[in-house]
């Protein structure tokens, strides 16, 4: 073997060693603080680990699928599940639709100061959820809230937004859409800008109206972004927690805004039913996994 060849061998070995060393801190952190806890979560979910076990782990018993059986007979769990699906299935599509509308508006050819509008629309996304939930709690105040004042101008209301079980979830959805439509809007705008303007001109010359242009050109161009946005939005919305924590004192009124994550938090961290809480978390995982796979499959089917 020539000197150059040997050099290359040792150099590639050095590179491999460096590569492994460079990813080692990240992998170690992920292993210790994510992989191990996730595996432990599966194990915990099969036990009755509770407040006594926190003091003395020896009292823990293996219960198999017992926690899941208890869950299935727990009306509060079903309530939380139903609320979460309400939030995801109504709030998610609404949020994506508003984002798409805002993106089309902001990106329209005639618009001046595009950057300014984009910045304004995006501002709620970067702000702290707890703080805006506090603000909205007062905007929704039945007597002094800005929203009911505006409704009164139109001769409507007053609505007891966060105090009425029928209105609490719509109120949470409205705030969530306000908070995050800017995020998806930015992604849609990037997609819209990747469509060359000449295609639209050609379509106009062929006599295509605005609606036809939207259906035939814009929507197909946005399809990859729609998948991404759909999955990201769904996954985020399934993790509803901060809004009910701050706005409805943890899921009220009458559990109308109790979410799966809130239910897990209360079971696990407030009442220390840790095994049971871990089982709730696994149900959330399963739902998110199925939801993601379904969206990806639907998208493949359409292509």
């Amino acid at each position: 073997m020539t000197a150059g060849g040997r050099n290359r061998v040792s150099r590639s070995r050095r590179e491999a060693r460096a590569g492994l060393a460079f990813i080692a801190p990240a992998l170690a952190l992920i292993a210790v603080f994510f992989v191990i806890p996730v595996v432990a979560g599966f194990l915990l979910a099969a036990t009755d680990f509770d407040i006594y076990a926190v003091g003395d782990p020896a009292t823990t018993r293996f219960v198999g699928l017992g926690n899941f059986a208890t869950l299935l007979h727990d009306p509060v769990f079903w309530k939380a599940l139903g609320n979460t699906f309400y939030f995801v299935l109504v709030g998610g599509p609404l949020s994506v639709a508003v984002s798409l509308g805002a993106a089309l508006l902001v990106n329209a050819r005639l618009v001046r100061c595009k950057g300014l509008f984009r910045t304004v629309y995006f501002a709620p996304v970067v702000t702290t959820m707890v703080a805006v939930a506090v603000v909205w709690r007062y905007l929704y105040h039945p007597r002094f809230g800005l929203l009911n004042q505006l409704l009164a101008l139109a001769g409507l209301g007053p609505v007891n937004w966060l105090g009425d079980p029928r209105w609490a979830m719509p109120a949470v959805i409205l705030m969530a859409v306000w908070k995050n439509f800017g995020y998806n809007m930015i992604i849609f705008v990037a997609g819209l800008q990747s469509v060359p303007a000449t295609i639209y001109e050609a379509a106009r010359v062929d006599g295509a109206g605005p609606w036809q242009q939207f259906r035939r050109l814009t929507l197909p161009a946005l399809r990859p972004m729609l998948v991404f946005v759909g999955v990201i939005t769904m996954v985020g919305y399934f993790q509803l927690f901060t809004e009910p924590y701050v706005m409805t004192n943890g899921g009220g009124p009458l559990n109308a805004t109790l979410s799966i994550v809130m239910y897990m938090y209360k079971q696990g961290f407030r009442w220390w039913n840790i095994g049971f809480g871990a089982a709730v978390a696994l149900v959330l995982f399963l739902i998110i996994l199925v939801g993601t796979l379904v969206q990806l499959r639907l998208q493949k089917g359409r292509e």
Partner: protein, 273 residues
């Protein structure tokens, strides 16, 4: 000339959405400057009759929220600085260094992103309790130091670095760590700024995990303190609004200054896939 109606209608729609977006912020700011009780008077007023800073003074003097501000700043700055180091090393290695198992490990990391963080939370809490990290800043910081989306961002960007440049440095006898430090890090600067902004804002705004880990109210980060405050001070609207302004202001300013970088980073994941 036919364009005028479209032009006006378009800007009217944009303006309405802009007002709807800004109104909660404007009201927050305005109410935070009102004397105590004015936000819950009838008829309600949008602007303070005589603007005052007494709510802000109360936050800092009576409620010690300045301390929580510093807690938040410490957590956000330290976790961002450490995450930058960890993520830049890993992202660069996954993009440019050849080692056995590289693509398999990378794919496994991306796949693991479907698992929601909540699955890990209860066991992680028990783990932190064992090692004495519950109710410490490090208990908040350490578990989030290797975000996979950060590794993904840096890798995507690092893929475009020219191999010839790295090879030339190797021929010159530079060690791999020297290449990373002297050559790669400066080239990765734009994406690291983007990730840094993401990370800082994310850490500043984070709520659920700090809420779980921190039990002593002197250690609370601002969002946790604010959520706690509304339990006792729900009637003090003006005070709560001042607290909200204090919490929101740093991230909002950071975004306004670095918005271009932030928005570019945002579209990376969506468009390039």
């Amino acid at each position: 000339m036919r364009r005028w109606p479209a032009l006006v209608g378009l800007h009217l729609a944009l303006g309405i959405v802009a007002v709807a977006t800004l109104l909660p912020f404007l009201w927050m700011l305005s109410a935070s400057l009102m004397p105590a009780g004015e936000a819950s008077q009838w008829p309600p007023s949008f602007l303070p009759s005589r603007p005052t800073l007494e709510n802000y003074r109360a936050l800092f003097h009576r409620l010690d929220l300045g301390r929580c501000f510093l807690n938040s700043a410490f957590v956000a700055i330290v976790s961002t600085a450490l995450a930058l180091l960890i993520v830049s090393l890993a992202g660069y290695a996954f993009a440019k260094l050849h080692f056995p198992g590289r693509s398999r490990i990378y794919r496994a990391l991306l796949t693991a992103m479907v698992i929601p963080a909540q699955v890990a939370m209860l066991p992680l809490f028990l783990l932190l309790r064992e090692v004495g990290l519950v109710n410490t800043y490090w208990g908040v910081i350490i578990p989030a130091l290797a975000p996979v989306f950060g590794i993904f961002m840096v890798r995507q960007y690092a893929l475009s670095l020219p191999d010839e440049l790295l090879d030339a440095a190797r021929v010159d006898g530079a060690g791999e760590f020297t290449i990373y430090r002297k050559l790669v890090l400066p080239l990765l600067r734009p994406i690291l700024v983007t990730f840094g902004v993401f990370s800082f804002i994310g850490a500043w705004n984070d709520f659920m995990w700090p809420l779980i880990v921190l039990t002593d109210d002197r250690k609370y980060t601002l969002p946790v303190a604010l959520a706690n405050l509304i339990g006792e001070h729900a009637q003090d609207i003006e005070l709560m609004m001042a607290g909200s302004v204090l919490t929101v202001l740093p991230v909002l300013l950071l975004f306004l200054v670095l918005q271009r970088t932030y928005v570019e980073g945002l579209t990376m994941g969506g468009v390039k896939e």
